[in-house]
Subunit: 349 residues, 2 copies
């Protein structure tokens, strides 16, 4: 009775980012304490002395995780990490999280305890406090919603829309490993389903599997920035794949980018596994997703501050928007980079 | 593979509040900015000059709402209101909300637009900004998670664990109407399902139905408190039924309560409908839920400040814990009040 049946536009026609923009474009900002609303890794609220930074993410069973190969403890850990990553991407420090759960009666108290052990481990590791939440039942499956709250000094907040032509583009850590970890787990699941007697041996690929199941957020980088007195000119976390995040950062900043393929960090295990799966390693790095590394830009004169920081890779330069977003391959060719973020809107009912 | 199958305790054995306590009891508070964690209507964070107050709630299709009789616009409105109510219950003013949605491909862009129209209406009505969120797909159904962020001066925050013996117990508005509205909607749904040709006529019961589908939060009361320079000694919002909230407030404060049945406000429409459904009106008021009124206590010397405030009812007194929590009926009897909150843990899978 309640649903509008007159016109029906499928959400896939807009895509995730198009949909959010479409649904929220008319919302005005009324409070002067609201410094940044929708459109960055986190919202920014003026709290008087400091800025309060807020980010939220929802994880849905069957869409974001598969309990066939995801231990609940790891899932609890990861659900906190993905939110902390958004706070670090604002150059802020997370301090509190809230966690809401909806779960079917398939989940026992012991299963929920495992999940909370992971949440507890993440809170302990990153010095954040669990301060609230909601638990309720669901007709089917497990849904997790986490909100992270952080703080930063007013002049330290870094947005994604402030990259400037001439800035250097940098990334932390290596890319594509989490995606390849997922491919391994999916392959083992299929083997298990067709022959439940075979136990998977994931030891050899522990790096890739760990990057998928138990990612970390880049707190130490934010601390290093602070020590080096470096404030990036723009920053975004890499959750949907490097290419997609480069697109967001460039589009929001009104600039283009020139990226060296040789500058994109890929772990040797990821490189080997990509080849084994007959995939191109750079494609995995560009489109893989779930890396939770930081993509950021710095003013050229700040190069001395990052040069000696371990785990930071300079991989390109910000150029005029008219020059587009391009990859200079190891073979010497120049290709436009296509944004291929995740499209989760493929459910069924 | 991932679930612990060794021991299985059903969550119903603990109940919602027992479960939260069980799962979160080991979480230590590490940040000195965390003033209040789990255990009140909202968390309280010290932001330097002001306090930041954070509350979150999850609404699940098939558990919290039925789209057979809930217009999506009303649902969007209500999902914001239930969170604002928690912020007001801390004597704080909400300023921002985030909203995360998971929805199956049954939902069109037009359907989501309706939902967001309701969110927008609530934001406009209560002067809050939508500052973030997440949209994703779900294998089945609609799940909404809202987080509200508010602020208050440090000495104005009101907790639920600070009621004192001798305080007067007050309530805003009237109770039980939302529950009776739900009964009407459920009855009409059954009639519709058995005979789809019959269109429901809800006009006559518009007050009760509105209290269920489009509740409001008690902002004006928080403003009145401020004008009257009144700071309640304790406060909680009534989402799970008056009896349940009296229990929380008393348990957390280490006190008992003596409530006059004649002091519990019930709207004439609710009284009439309860009788029509062969229910006791006071039972509906005590156990109904979803009223989103405020239950609060005041120091006896503050009675002059509330006496002339419209829509505030003095209904009892805080007594020693040893005296228990009791209702003095209109018939002159004294009964212990039993907490009968909602038990949502009755899903199926």
């Amino acid at each position: 009775m309640a649903e509008n049946t007159e016109k029906r536009t499928d959400v896939n026609e807009l895509g995730e980012f198009g949909l959010i923009e479409h649904l929220t474009k008319r919302f005005p900002i009324k409070n002067k304490s609201t410094i940044k609303g929708i459109g960055d890794d986190a919202a920014v609220i003026d709290s008087g002395k400091m800025m309060t930074v807020v980010s939220t993410d929802m994880l849905v069973e069957g869409i974001h995780f598969d309990l066939m190969y995801t231990p609940l403890k790891h899932l609890g850990y990861k659900s906190v990490i993905v939110n902390l990553s958004d706070i670090y991407a604002m150059n802020a420090m997370p301090k509190q999280v809230t966690m809401s759960l909806a779960f079917s009666n398939r989940f026992s108290v012991e299963a929920l305890e495992e999940l909370y052990q992971g949440v507890e481990a993440a809170c302990a590791q990153y010095d954040v406090d669990l301060v609230g939440g909601d638990t309720t039942s669901s007709p089917r499956g497990l849904i997790i919603s986490v909100t992270a709250i952080g703080e930063a000094e007013k002049d330290k907040i870094v947005y994604r829309n402030t990259a400037k032509v001439g800035d250097l583009m940098c990334v932390t850590g290596d890319l594509g490993a989490a995606y390849l970890g997922l491919q391994i787990l999916e392959r083992e699941k299929q083997i298990y389903l067709s022959n439940p007697g075979v136990q998977p041996d994931l030891e050899e690929q522990s790096y890739l599997v760990r990057r998928q199941l138990k990612p970390e957020a880049r707190r130490e980088m934010i601390k290093e920035f602070s020590k080096a007195e470096l404030v990036p000119t723009s920053m975004i976390d890499i959750s949907d794949g490097l290419a997609s995040e480069i697109f967001h950062l460039c589009k929001e900043s009104g600039v283009g980018a020139f990226v060296e393929e040789s500058g994109v960090p890929i772990h040797p295990d990821a490189e080997m596994m990509a080849i084994k799966f007959q995939m191109d390693p750079i494609t995995c790095a560009l489109s893989g997703g779930e890396d939770y590394e930081l993509l950021f830009t710095i003013a050229p004169e700040d190069i001395e501050k990052v040069k000696f920081l371990p785990g930071i890779y300079i991989m390109g330069e910000i150029v005029e928007a008219s020059e587009g977003i391009k990859l200079h391959t190891k073979g010497g060719n120049i290709h436009p980079i296509k944004a291929q973020g995740w499209n989760h809107f493929k459910g069924n009912e």
